[in-house]
Amino acid sequence: MKKAEWLEKYKKTLEKFPERKKEFLTGSATSVNALYTPEDIGNKIDDLYSDKIGFPGEFPYTRGVQSTMYRGRFWTMRQYAGFGDAEESNKRYHYLLNSGQTGLSIAFDLPTQIGYDSDDPVCKGEVGKVGVAIDSLKDMEILFKGIPVDKVSTSMTINAPAAVLLAMYIVNAEKQGINRKELTGTIQNDILKEYIARGTYIYPPAPSMRLITDIFEFCSKEVPKWNTISISGYHIREAGSSAAQEVGFTLADGVAYVDAAIKVGLGVDDFAPRLSFFFNSHNDLLEEVAKFRAARRIWANIMKNRFKSKDPKSMRTQQIIAEESGITNTVDPLAGSYYVEALTDQIEKVAMEYIQKIDDMGGVVKAIERGYIQKEIQDSSYKYQQSIEKKERIVVGVNKYTMEEKTKGELLRVNPAVEAKQVEKLRSVKASRSNKDVELRLAKIREAAKGNENLMPPIIDAVRDYATIGEICGVMREVFGEYKERIVI
């Protein structure tokens, strides 16, 4: 492809998806084009450029997923929110939507994330702290009271019990008179990174993968606009990995999910468009740019060559980019920089080596069982910490230019009464529902879990009759067992 050809395509795209502004200008009011290539500095576009770097919106997507990228629009900006009980969070969501947010991002508390009811003794002190406490459909109804879920897109950061929360979301919409086929949103639903970096798992890998593919299958037919997974590198990076590890391990996870889905008979082009990725935006700007470019390129190649996707649309990513620096005035501004291109290639190489190594071990699940991924991350993490202690790496305010004065921020204190309130709510829900029906629904889940049928329909039925998350996840705990972490230090 030459630039002229790309520009033709680009103009067509603009007819459907216009740019943010009529004109993009530098700080000194010079006009900025949509895209710059070697041709803009008097060079030719050769095969090396075409094959490895290419054009935005074109395979291998090194320069961007879409042709317009941030000239077209910014990503949906969401504020991760949720705390205390559903009433408080609902108020917060109304506030955020009224301030112009176009989507919601739900944070759940740890008991909910791990499939426990708020009255379980292991939850002491944890209820409502890191997110909102959801024990049953009743809480979900309160959480979304007055929020039109056919118009608002919702991202739920939920993994191990994602099926249950999605079921609650669907049934709540149903009660609002909204057809599930209209629902838009995401569930994070990435269990592999839980074993690797985040720690909120419930079941062992095999049944967890089964739950995930059940969700893929169910949603592809019933909730087609829903993004069923957000394959995450964010947490892996936060756990201390390097940029190349973040890419390598996240894409290896992606491979594992696609493999699992294909194994249960799903067509790669049926669910692949709904796969999204969630990466970190770390400190070293140029390395991060190279990282995203490498990740896009690797995934495009994997989808095309390994999974034979007919339409290898690259990954859709969520991250936050600065608004005022002018970086978003042109697409992939750092392309062509010797450093950035070399760094992109380097990260791609190292990430691919990790993916290969994991393949050789038999896949991500085996690698996790051996503790390989966890060890790599911990080694990076420890090295990083040592470099800070030895002042080889400076973190301003931490090991250099520290201040004695304490900054007093405003703390949000979760009302400790939330826990007691939630316990009371649970009691009341259990008293006002048909416990006989709930027993039957739970039995159906137990049966389905032991067999092969898709778990979503029986979970939806149980949720509708106000079975609690602890009860539903508890039944699955009986059948699937619990994951025991492999300690690697």
Partner: protein, 132 residues
């Protein structure tokens, strides 16, 4: 023969973030201590039981979920119940400055908030553990 200092690094509650706990465990190992790491999701009773069996000198509690005001004192209470009154206990994680006095009043010898150099923790142990 000089006794080795034994440290229990524990993760009470449901919090799954173990990067800090593992980095601290490694650093303490490199400083010559024997470190027993409890793994995730430990109840206060389990932590006290482990401290008892391992006859540790120090217990370090790591928590980032905001449940420290409930769980740290609960661990201290269990330690006392088990008869381990001389064990030094420190904490770390996401803990607001203003909560530290309360925690100290409830038996925590120190709280190490994010950014604390590892050497500070190593020194704290060396200075506060009485040789056997």
């Amino acid at each position: 023969m000089k006794a080795k200092i034994r440290v229990l690094i524990a993760k009470p509650g449901l919090d799954g973030h173990d990067r800090g706990a593992k980095v601290v465990a490694r650093a303490l190992r490199d400083a010559g201590y024997e470190v027993i790491y409890t793994g995730l999701r430990r109840t206060p009773q389990e932590i006290a039981r482990m401290a008892l069996e391992e006859d540790v000198d120090v217990v370090g509690l790591s928590l980032l979920s905001g449940a420290h005001n409930e769980l740290f004192p609960a661990v201290i209470a269990e330690l006392k119940k088990t008869g381990l009154k001389d064990v030094v206990v420190f904490g770390g994680g996401v803990i607001p400055e203003e909560d530290i006095p309360f925690l100290k009043k409830n038996g925590l010898g120190a709280i190490f908030t994010p950014g604390t150099p590892l050497q500070t923790i190593i020194d704290f142990i060396a200075n506060n553990v009485k040789p056997r």
